[in-house]
Structure formats: structure tokens, C-alpha cells
């Protein structure tokens, strides 16, 4: 059967992608950011997944105001890197896993999550930056990402966004879905976005190091409490775009210690934790958890 063995959490700052694409990773500004992922790149090689279930948000790229799905699962065979206005990032096309994705869609919808199924979607920095961070630079044509990816897009752009609790519960449903898939597959689930940042108005540039780190502590050690964080706390404490953090709770909810909304099983192993300010406007957070 398929199994979620690990979860990865990371910010997906577009400037990180630009720094990689423009060869700036060794500049003083960027060095400490990428150093935080040295462990992770090696870990990816040592723990190569068969499929990555990648939770991210679309930034008004694939979805405009015409149509805003709360949760959208990609069941397509492939996804092109999007042109967000600067031209598409020079990274490999993202291959999907239609069979597993459709299986998860079916199971999760039958568990009363009202997903939108997507078969055509360009993927923006929200999805490609985490892949670049974890896999290192790749040639867009000669190279390929290490495995198929199932993109899972969460609306965090137009209010109301789903609550952290809803996301946490969804993670549990995804785990159940994966575990009912017959083929033996090693699945990683990634939660991306955050941490504290605000991209608008007089409060642009807000960073809340203390809150971020307390939230990380809770995510790792007391996830049910973390899931109960009200929406307004993210906005007030972590900036208007800090709300992206609810996506991390999907990945956390999918870990095997969670049963019935509570952490009852053996805690996952914390393999890596990293925090750095700034990358562009944003606090970068990054965690790797393995199931015990």
C-alpha cells in the first residue's frame, strides 16, 4: 500500500526562485537562505519519494477572480511552469501522478471535502520554488524533477480562506486516502508558504520572529493546538500573507501521529528545522518531519 513517510514544510518566496534562476545563490544576501537547505537536498537524495503531494497556493496565476476553488487537486499528467509576468521560470515541467491523484480525489471527496478537480493548470512559484529549494538547480530541458508531483492548491488569496482546523482535518483525510491505494508508494507531503510576511500597504515588511517560532514549536509538538489558531491571529501577528501558513497544517495533519484530530501516536522525528530573516519581504521557515 502507499504510505506517507515524511512531511516537508517550507516558505516559497518568489525571490528565492529568481535568485536561483539568476545564479545569485552565493551572494552574501542569499547564502544563509540556501545554507538552510543543504541538509534538505541531501535528505531528498537519501529519502527519495515516489510521489510528492505538494500543498501550495496559486497567486492569481492559474485562478483569477473568475473562479476561486477553496481546494483544488491536480489530476493531470503534467503542469507547465507559469509565466507570472517575468516569463516562466526555467525549470523542468512538472509531471503529475494522475492515478494516485484521482484516487485521493475520490476518497477525500467521499470523506466530505468538496474538492475541485483540475486537469489543466500552470503552476507558479508557490509550487516550483519549494521543488527548487529541495532539489537544487535543474536544467529545464535536460533534467527532470526527481518524481511525480500532485499539486494541491489552497485558496489563501481571497477571503474567506479555509480555517487551520479544516486544513488539519483535510490532512487526515488525505492520509487515509493514500493508505487505501494498493500500489506500494513512498509519498511525501509538503506544506508550503509563509512564514510571517505582508506584501501590502503601510504594514508591508512585517516580520514576527517570536510568533513564527512559537507557531513552529506548536506545529511540531502540539499540532492540534496549532490547528486551532484563529484566522485573525495569522493576519494580525504574521501579516496579511502570513495566512499561507494554514497550508502547513494539511501536511502536519497527514502525519501518522494524528488520529481523530489529536496527536495520539508516536511523535514524528524532527529531522531538520531552519528559520531565517529575510528573503525579500519574508521570513523563511523550513521543517522536515519523518514518521516514526
Amino acid at each position: 500500500m502507499a504510505k506517507i513517510t515524511a512531511s516537508v514544510y517550507t516558505s516559497h518566496v518568489p525571490a528565492i526562485g529568481a535568485a536561483m534562476d539568476l545564479g545569485k545563490t552565493q551572494e552574501d544576501y542569499w547564502k544563509p537562505v540556501f545554507a538552510g537547505y543543504d541538509f534538505s537536498k541531501q535528505w531528498m537524495k537519501d529519502n527519495k519519494p515516489d510521489v510528492i503531494f505538494l500543498v501550495f497556493n496559486d497567486h492569481a496565476t492559474a485562478f483569477s477572480s473568475d473562479l476561486i476553488p477553496t481546494f483544488a487537486i491536480g489530476t493531470a499528467a503534467e503542469y507547465q511552469p507559469a509565466d507570472e509576468g517575468w516569463g516562466p521560470r526555467p525549470v523542468p515541467v512538472v509531471k503529475g501522478h494522475p492515478e494516485l491523484a484521482s484516487h485521493i480525489a475520490q476518497s477525500v471527496i467521499q470523506q466530505d471535502f468538496d474538492l475541485t478537480i483540475v486537469n489543466k493548470m500552470d503552476v507558479d512559484h508557490g509550487l516550483t520554488v519549494p521543488l527548487s529549494l529541495m532539489c537544487g538547480p535543474l536544467d529545464p530541458v535536460k533534467d527532470a524533477w526527481p518524481c511525480p508531483v500532485i499539486p494541491f492548491a489552497v485558496n489563501v488569496v481571497q477571503y474567506p480562506v479555509p480555517s487551520g482546523q479544516r486544513c488539519f482535518n483535510l490532512g487526515q483525510a488525505i492520509r487515509k486516502a493514500v493508505e487505501s491505494y494498493d500500489e506500494d508508494l513512498n509519498v511525501h507531503i509538503w506544506g508550503t508558504g509563509g512564514m510571517s510576511h505582508q506584501l501590502q500597504g503601510a504594514r508591508a515588511g512585517l516580520i514576527n520572529r517570536e510568533w513564527d517560532n512559537a507557531w513552529l514549536d506548536q506545529l511540531i509538538n502540539d499540532p492540534a493546538a496549532c490547528a486551532a489558531t484563529p484566522h485573525i491571529n495569522y493576519v494580525r501577528e504574521a501579516g496579511s500573507e502570513g495566512i499561507e501558513l494554514v497550508m502547513w497544517l494539511i501536511a502536519r495533519g497527514a502525519m501518522s501521529d494524528i488520529e481523530g484530530g489529536q496527536a495520539t501516536g508516536p511523535a514524528p522525528k524532527l529531522r531538520h528545522r531552519f528559520y531565517h530573516v529575510p528573503a525579500s519581504n519574508t521570513a523563511v521557515g523550513h521543517v522536515i518531519l519523518e514518521n516514526s
Binding site: 497567486h59 492569481a60 477572480s65 506584501l199 500597504g201 508591508a204 512585517l206 494580525r236 500573507e241 530573516v277
Partner: protein, 152 residues
């Protein structure tokens, strides 16, 4: 309407809810169009003519022409949409975000390197943090206008 909008008391922040989305619909759709290279070219060749192809309000068009992102946001724009204008101009997200504070690019960049804007005084409208209305514009611009007596 009886639904809560608890986010109304956060300073310097407009939450993109259904109301804002309705107001900004055509402005944001115009921004989406800039995801195609040929539209970026057409926009750059004649901004006004390109804007006139969209059912935007005159104010929205003026806000875009002025590249005033705060003004764009007041008319219903959302930063992820508006970012396509910045991208067309070759600007980074940091340049765009910084432009909304009144700081120079360097001032904003330095603030970020120094750990970013502090949360203290910036949680609720009515406190006295850097994002509060009485402390705008920020950076040297603010000190100047303050020195010139333009602000209380």
C-alpha cells in the same frame, strides 16, 4: 451584514474579501492579462490605450498609470494580481511592497535585513507603530514631511 470582519482593525492592511474582489474585478482581470508576453508588449507600447480596453473605472486606470499600489488596492486591487504590473516593469516583489510604505528602496531593503518591520504597535489600529496612519509616510520621506510641519 452580520458576518464578522475582524480584520478591519489591523493597521495598514486591506483584506481581499468578496467586497474588495467585486470592486477590483476588472482591475485585477487587466493585471491577469499581463501574464502573456504579447499583452505586456502592447501595454508598454501604449498604456492608456491598453487600459481603455478594460471596463475599469477611470480612477483604477489613473492608479495604474501612477503605479501607486496603495491607490490600486483601495480600488479593489490585490497584490498578487497587481504584481503582474510590477513584473511587466521588471520590478521585484520587494520593490513593489516597499513602494507602498513611502520608504526608498534602500530604506525598505535595510529594514528587512535588520529583521523586518516590528509587530509592536502594529497589531491594532490606534497603537503607535510604524504602520499606523499617523506615522506615514515612512523613512526619510516621513522625516522630511514631518520636519516641514505637514503632519501633526
Amino acid at each position: 451584514m452580520a458576518l464578522d470582519k475582524p480584520y478591519k482593525d489591523v493597521p495598514g492592511t486591506i483584506i481581499f474579501d468578496a467586497e474588495q474582489s467585486r470592486k477590483g474585478y476588472w482591475l485585477n482581470q487587466f493585471c491577469m492579462s499581463l501574464m502573456k508576453a504579447e499583452n505586456r508588449e502592447r501595454f508598454k507600447a501604449d498604456e492608456r490605450a491598453y487600459l481603455d480596453e478594460w471596463q475599469m473605472t477611470e480612477e483604477q486606470k489613473q492608479a495604474v498609470l501612477a503605479r501607486d499600489l496603495n491607490w490600486c488596492m483601495r480600488t479593489g486591487g490585490n497584490i498578487y494580481f497587481l504584481a503582474k504590473i510590477g513584473a511587466t516593469d521588471g520590478k521585484s516583489f520587494q520593490q513593489m511592497a516597499g513602494s507602498m510604505t513611502g520608504m526608498t528602496e534602500e530604506e525598505y531593503r535595510n529594514m528587512m535585513i535588520a529583521g523586518g518591520r516590528s509587530i509592536e504597535g502594529n497589531r491594532y489600529i490606534g497603537e503607535n507603530g510604524s504602520a499606523q496612519v499617523q506615522n506615514q509616510p515612512q523613512g526619510a520621506a516621513g522625516q522630511q514631511s514631518s520636519a516641514a510641519g505637514q503632519k501633526p
